[in-house]
Amino acid sequence: MAMDVVDYEIFGSEMQYVEVELDPGEAAIGEAGVMMYMQDGIQMDTVFGDGSQQQGGFFGKLMGAGKRLLTGESLFTTVYHNEGSGKRRVAFAAPYPGKIVPVDLSKVGGTLICQKDSFLAAAKGVSLGIAFQKKIGVGLFGGEGFIMQKLDGDGMAFIHAGGTLLEKTLAPGETLRVDTGCVVAFQPSVDFDIQYAGKIKTALFGGEGLFFATLSGPGKVWLQSLPLSRMADRIVMASRAAGGGGKEGGTALAGFGLGSLLGDDE
């Protein structure tokens, strides 16, 4: 299947967006709600399912949509077509602080397993599927759940991860122990497993939980330094509603004063 070859450029440092250049007739697919801007001549079309062409008929589309529902994404994908006569650009922005990872699927063997929710955009023709984790322990304690996302094809795909990104190639037999939740993506040749932290004391007070995720090579893995859930936890903990408003002693009073000044219209 012919993939659309897209040129791209990533802007920003911690809150990034990727600008994709489409030749006339080319198209890209984007997760619903991530488009930032597009130039004249780009037609937007919302399709049911994942927008890859290989699924035929109504049931194929329904399956595709069902898969997307399972991975927690919108039922619809948006296809951005360049109907103009010259090169046109469309940009997709990351939904939370982190990095956008461009992955050339043809260079990683055509398939990438990634954390659900991490898909941002891809060249048209890349298919988005689900990869069901078949190790119970990993599904329960691996930090990524039972449902992961599978990108198939040989074009560019852009996935998004929180914080800073580590891309690492593991040699055969090389194993990395990772905090659960920090795994963003890996090649299918990588063994994703869990390992008991070993000591109850570590599990309770080490702050890393009962299990590590282990990744063993060969293959490429992508790790994120800040899973969104961890950031969300911190924000909730620090929010006034959770009683965390006074945590930064010095500013608590100032914050209170400002809050009551600004809060008068409530």
């Binding site: 063997g109 078949k134 190790k135 040699a171 055969p172 299918p188 040749s189 063994d191 994703f192 090579g217």
Partner: protein
């Protein structure tokens, strides 16, 4: 024994982590490996070890000892390995077995994950009556009184209570007649047209004025009151409260949605509970009537009257008593038989001029 070369990735012993694209084919008893960017390798079939690896066993790792120590390794996708497996099935047998075992483990695990919560819920539901009994037996009478007072307060909010006049006195007279020595029972008359009566914990019995109007004699009212007192005695409404709270917790935990499904299921449970409890209350009520020397035929007559009203009435106009006290034909048949068998005891009429309270005339 020749087939088209298979695409693989070759990881030479001591090489880098990235590996090299390679083509692989089996020529006789020797595996030929043709890496794109390094000299060809040969490995005797007998020296090969194959194992599944990667996400959901989607890859095969084939390794063999290198001359200078260490191992060379080939990585082949499950989708591409077919021809090689057909040519050397024995090599792949071990890995296939491991894959099947892991598949079975997964199925067993998922089944267990789904079954355990289900079993817990079933076990809780099965022991709900027992648990309810245990909880109810630990509730002190003072708490019962409080609940009764709360129910009464709510009844007052819904409509006025009648606390004087001949109808009120009649209810008190009947109640006193039925109460056993030492029992603290309160009888209240609510000014409401629905034919209904109910009992709350703590000995609170409320009769609607509509019921008095429908009854043809004090004995009929006594029958209903005896039945309601039996509910109090058997702590039915208390059990119902505890039980429905328990159901709410169980289904709430199961559904995660405390209000919608939990409430619905709890109501179903209450209905079923009532039907069992009614029979019990009928029986105890009859015993109480016999003790108080009240003609049990009144109870039967009143339920027959209700049954007729039910048969004659349009849907949606059923007496309210029937919606909580299902007067099925079966139940009346049972009552009739029970009255007939025990109806020979001594009977004293209740001394109330029923016409004076405007009962039957209405």
């Amino acid at each position: 024994m020749s087939h088209a070369p298979i695409a693989a990735r070759f990881y030479p012993a001591g090489g880098d982590a990235h590996g090299h694209p390679a083509l692989v084919e089996l020529a006789g008893k020797v595996l030929q490996v043709l890496p794109e960017d390094s000299p060809p390798q040969q490995a005797p079939l007998a020296s090969l070890q194959a194992a599944t690896r990667g996400f959901n066993h989607s890859q095969w790792a084939i390794a063999w000892p290198a001359e200078g120590g260490g191992e060379h390794m080939l990585l082949i996708d499950e989708a591409a390995v077919g021809p090689l497996r057909a040519a050397a099935p024995a090599l792949f047998a071990g890995g296939e077995g491991a894959r099947r075992r892991s598949g079975r483990r997964f199925l067993a695990g998922i089944t267990l994950l789904a079954l355990v919560p289900l079993l817990v819920v079933v076990a809780l539901l099965a022991s709900l009556d027992h648990l309810t009994d245990r909880v109810v037996s630990h509730i002190p009478p003072s708490v019962e009184k409080q609940i009764g007072a709360a129910v009464l307060a709510r009844t007052r909010l819904e409509g006025p209570l009648i606390d004087r006049g001949p109808a009120f006195e009649a209810v008190q007279t009947i109640g006193r007649r039925l109460a056993r020595p030492g029992e603290t029972l309160e009888f209240h008359l609510a000014d409401r047209p629905e034919i209904n009566a109910f009992a709350a914990p703590g000995g609170v019995v409320v009769v609607n004025s509509g019921l008095l109007a429908k009854a043809a004699s004090p004995e009929e009212v006594a029958g209903v009151l005896a039945h309601e007192i039996a509910h109090v005695e058997l702590r039915h409404s208390l059990r119902q409260i505890v039980r429905s709270a328990g159901l709410r917790v169980i289904f709430g935990a199961l559904a995660g949605d405390y209000d919608a499904l939990g409430g619905w299921a709890a109501q179903l449970g209450e209905l079923k509970f009532s039907r069992d409890a009614e029979r019990e209350a009928d029986q105890r009520g009859l015993e109480r009537l016999a003790e108080a020397r009240v003609d049990p035929a009144g109870m039967l007559r009143f339920f027959e009257t209700l049954d007729k009203a039910e048969a004659g009435g349009k849907a949606g106009q059923l007496p309210a008593l029937l919606s909580t006290h299902p007067a099925t034909t079966e139940r009346i048949a049972w009552l009739r038989e029970a009255v007939a068998t025990r109806g020979n005891g001594p009977v004293e009429p209740i001394a109330i001029d029923w016409r004076s309270i405007g009962g039957a005339s209405r």
